[in-house]
């Protein structure tokens, strides 16, 4: 691992944050260097550099097929990398199982699976348990607390198919909370949830951020980007722009990202004249 000198890497992958001194002593929660990922030899992500700082909520925005899900899967080590390195807290993920809390797209599991809400949330604690160990009182306590945080305690003993879409999303959220990770990756957590649930989720993400956790969220609704996120990553096969929302979320950058296909410009985007 070559230490990335602060002065040497003043590249486009690094936003100039007001409080970048925070990350100076601790390794970054997520650091991606010249990442290229391809399916069947066709590159989907091209030369991605990304440094995510602790205690930020980062929105990942881009058109369909931009490679957002691919980026998250690559960070989680689910895809073979064509080139590049990914470090979590300064180390490869392999050395620290469970360091990433993960909220998948809802369609990615079979909701008829014979498990209850409680069972699913409990799975979040398995990463730190170790071989042959069974969850005990401590894990049950974590599980109870996580369910409380997403207001799902009264559903704990329901089978998961008897839940609405928004409730299923909150189960995944509770499971990620139960992982007690420092870095969270979420693939469209707001897809198909109502406004009240969306507000509750974003509130929860903010409290998590305020305890120093870092959250990467794939998001499609451009109207709420400025409101929800501290930083934003505009992605379309490569990094179009990345930095604090105020600097980066501009009409020009959005045009570049969406390639003129942008029908409605978000009200809050900067640079309108």
């Amino acid at each position: 691992m070559i230490p990335q000198g602060e002065q040497g890497s003043a590249d486009e992958g690094r936003p100039n944050l007001p409080d970048s001194s925070l990350g100076a002593d601790r390794p970054l929660p997520l650091s991606v260097r010249s990442l290229t990922v391809s399916y069947d030899r066709k590159a989907v992500l091209w030369n991605v550099d990304l440094d995510v700082f602790a205690g930020r909520i980062v929105g990942v925005v881009g058109p369909n097929g931009a490679g957002k899900t691919t980026l998250i899967k690559a960070i989680m080590g689910l895809l073979p990398l064509q080139s590049g390195t990914i470090l979590i807290n300064g180390k490869p993920l392999k050395k620290q199982p469970g360091a990433i809390g993960y909220v998948p797209q809802r369609e990615s599991v079979d909701w008829d699976f014979p498990v209850t809400v409680h069972d699913v949330v409990m799975m979040g604690t398995y990463g730190t348990l170790g071989l042959f160990r069974r969850p005990g009182r401590k894990q049950r306590e974590i599980c109870r607390r996580s369910l409380d945080q997403v207001h799902m305690s009264s559903y704990a003993h329901r089978q998961i198919s008897n839940l609405s879409g928004g409730q299923q999303q909150r189960v995944f959220l509770a499971r990620a909370l139960a992982q007690e990770a420092d870095l969270y990756l979420m693939d469209e957590p707001f897809a198909g949830v109502d406004a009240a649930t969306e507000a509750a989720i974003i509130e929860l993400l903010r409290t998590q951020r305020d305890t120093g956790r870092t959250i990467l969220v794939i998001h499609h609704d451009l109207q709420s980007v400025a409101d929800y996120f501290d930083d934003v990553l505009l992605l379309n096969r490569h990094v179009v722009a990345y930095g604090p929302v105020g600097d980066v979320f501009t009409v020009e950058n959005l045009r570049t990202t969406y390639g003129g296909k942008l029908a409605v410009l978000p009200e809050h985007a900067n640079g309108e004249t």
């Binding site: 899967k73 989680m76 080590g77 689910l78 993920l93 392999k94 199982p97 469970g98 990433i100 993960y102 998948p104 990615s108 599991v109 079979d110 699976f113 014979p114 498990v115 209850t116 069972d119 699913v120 799975m123 398995y126 990463g127 348990l129 042959f132 069974r134 969850p135 207001h151 799902m152 009264s154 559903y155 089978q159 409730q167 499971r175 992982q179 009240a196 509750a200």
Partner: protein, 327 residues
């Protein structure tokens, strides 16, 4: 008409007490039942993890392709039993799973077609090798499909002075291994089955778990099929777990109910076979499918009849917590 009736009249005295009437007959009945129960337990427990993932067909495939492993092991060692056969079968199971995944991943062929291709070609290869190079009095393709329970019951070994069929001994060991692996690696098996991506992120090695499962499945199959045949193995791998799946919403309960359904099928099946003078394996499959039908119709939550009744009544009050509005 002087044809004998299709179904002989049922007589409690001869058909239920008959199989237990003398010590020798009772011992035979007991070991037949024990062997069939062990088959049902070890295949059923593993089958649970297949059917919750929609992989029942892989079980079907492996229960046939192990023939290739057995024949290859025979060609290498000259034996149709023992360690070599178990290892041969275990490896073929893993190779089957690997090949299926390889074809499915590296082309546009869907999983079901990949299973069909791998399963039939490896089985055919096994049959050809068996016919041409490994003729043996007790193994042929028929015997792989239907087993030979009578023969298995006579092939005994003495343990503490008691004559016990070899296949019962082997099945006891394999069932013990299967049960302990499930107990020890329950969380790995659960997460890999429910959400392989989460399992990978948590470092639970879902691919290793998957191939381990396939290896174990092959062990269970190869220990079972000599006595009862591949068809019963497939049935016991799928019918009791499917029955249990309809009756509960939690995996541990499903495993338990699978064991119960499997053992009931074995016990009732042996008596039904005696009554109808039919093949034990066939009778057992019929009982297992009968149990499935009952669950399919009358399961308290997922049953067809119960659902119809509920729609008919319409006055079912909604569950209390469905009324409360969540935050």
């Amino acid at each position: 008409m002087n044809m004998p009736p299709l179904i002989p009249p049922f007589d409690f005295q001869t058909h239920v007490l008959g199989p237990w009437s003398s010590p020798e007959i009772a011992a035979g009945t007991f070991w037949t039942m024990a062997t069939c129960s062990l088959v049902a337990i070890c295949c059923g427990l593993l089958g649970c993890f297949l059917i919750v993932q929609g992989l029942a067909l892989i079980g079907d495939a492996i229960s046939h392709t192990v023939l290739l492993g057995i024949v290859v092991a025979f060609l290498l060692t000259g034996q149709f039993s023992g360690m070599a056969m178990l290892i041969g079968a275990g490896l073929t199971g893993i190779v089957t799973a690997l090949l299926i995944e390889f074809i499915h991943r590296s082309s546009r062929i869907k999983q079901d077609a990949a299973i069909g291709i791998v399963f039939t070609s490896l089985f055919a290869l096994g049959v050809i090798l068996l016919n041409t190079m490994a003729s043996h009095q007790h193994i042929d393709a028929d015997c792989v499909l239907f087993g030979d329970l009578e023969f298995a019951m006579f092939d005994t070994t003495k343990i503490f002075g008691v004559a016990i069929p070899r296949s019962a001994v082997q099945l006891t060991l394999v069932t013990a291994v299967v049960a302990s692996v499930i107990a020890l690696f329950y969380k790995e098996l659960l997460v890999s089955a429910f959400d392989p991506q989460l399992a990978a992120v948590l470092g639970l090695k879902p691919r290793l778990v998957r191939y381990g499962l396939m290896g174990l499945l092959s062990l269970a199959v190869v220990s079972s099929f000599q006595a009862v045949g591949a068809i019963l193995v497939v049935a016991m791998m799928i019918a009791p777990p499917a029955t249990a799946y309809l009756l509960t919403d939690r995996l541990p309960k499903m495993l338990l109910l699978t064991v119960v359904a499997g053992v009931i099928s074995a016990i009732v099946g042996v008596h039904v076979a005696f009554w109808l003078n039919a093949a034990t394996a066939g009778a057992m499959v019929c009982v297992a499918c009968g149990l499935f039908t009952l669950a399919f119709l009358f399961s308290p939550r997922h049953g067809l009849a119960v659902g119809a009744l509920r729609r008919f009544r319409r006055d079912d009050p909604p569950l209390a917590d469905e009324l409360s509005v969540s935050a």
